[in-house]
């Protein structure tokens, strides 16, 4: 932690900002992928578990 902060402190503010923004964007993309994967997993699992029975329910 300290090392990063020291390195960050020595680097130009713009560099640090760019690095942080890039990291934040990568993390956002990764979280987006994970959420999408989670939705797909639940969707596919519902079909695998229930099959055509997914339609059999009281309306």
């Amino acid at each position: 932690m300290n090392e990063t902060v020291k390195k960050d402190a020595m680097a130009a503010p713009d560099d640090v900002d760019a690095k942080r923004k890039k990291a934040q964007r990568s993390r956002n993309v990764a979280i987006g992928f994970c959420l999408a994967a989670f939705v797909i997993i639940l969707y596919v699992a519902t079909w695998a578990k229930l099959g055509a029975n997914v339609m059999v329910r009281p309306l």
């Binding site: 932690m1 300290n2 902060v5 020291k6």
Partner: protein
Amino acid sequence: MNTSIEKESDFTVSTAMPADYFELLKPGVMRLVVFTAIAGLVIAPGQLHPVLALISILCIAIGAGASGALNMWYDSDIDAVMTRTAKRPIPSGRVSRSEALVFGLVLSFFSIFTLGVIANWLSAGLLAFTIFFYAVVYSMWLKRSTPQNIVIGGAAGAFPPMIGWAVVTNSVTIESLVLFAIIFIWTPPHFWALALFKSGDYASVGIPMMPNVAGNRSTQNQILAYSLLLAPIGFLPYWMGFVGLTYGVVSAVLGAAFVWFAFRCWQMDSDDKIMKPAKRLFAFSILYLFALFGVMILEVAAPNLIARFV
């Protein structure tokens, strides 16, 4: 100056990349967990939709990874001192402790919840207990307080095949307990072999590993004792009849080899600086477990695949 920067840094955006978070999951440990969980799932009697099997394995892997992240959160102070762990994401400054904690907790919740919904709540309960056991019982309590830490803590690593079995059968049976016992008894000789040639590392952070507390000679004796116990337990699945002859032969040969490596380690001079026999035993112990569970999977899966495609 530094303090103000550190204080400031608490409020700035983190520079952690997704790969750093992935490292928190301990991918190496996850590989073994996935492998043994697949074995439990494959050899369990009963039918399971392949998609559900795949998702269940993913849940077990992520649950195991989450417990790894919680372990790294709690152990970051000692990880920073030991050479083996100093480059982990928290001690190297790439991920903060609080980020790792939240990451571990969120993944724990989602993996347990998903497994419960997809498979059954018994396997989800076992996964929850495994995470709790590794993060709380082992990391927070046993690891720093007793040389028996990895003996009892080894249970956390032994649960995955039992979870895999429970995913299919919704039960805990004697067969799944045998799979549990194989990993449980395998853990002490595996970790103590490592602890023998890494004892300086553990001593420097005050972790009471067996060689530091009871001495190398006592550790070597115990490694041999556990190995003598492991060889017949490794053979039990064949003897009980829930795996085939190939496994029986492989487990007998590898079990004998394990005892041989443990014997060579036992013969080693306690003051040996290089500790080659201990290093060999450590390397072989990994091969042993992969081979045993690999043969289990192949023996059941291969005939099915051949029948399907030939």
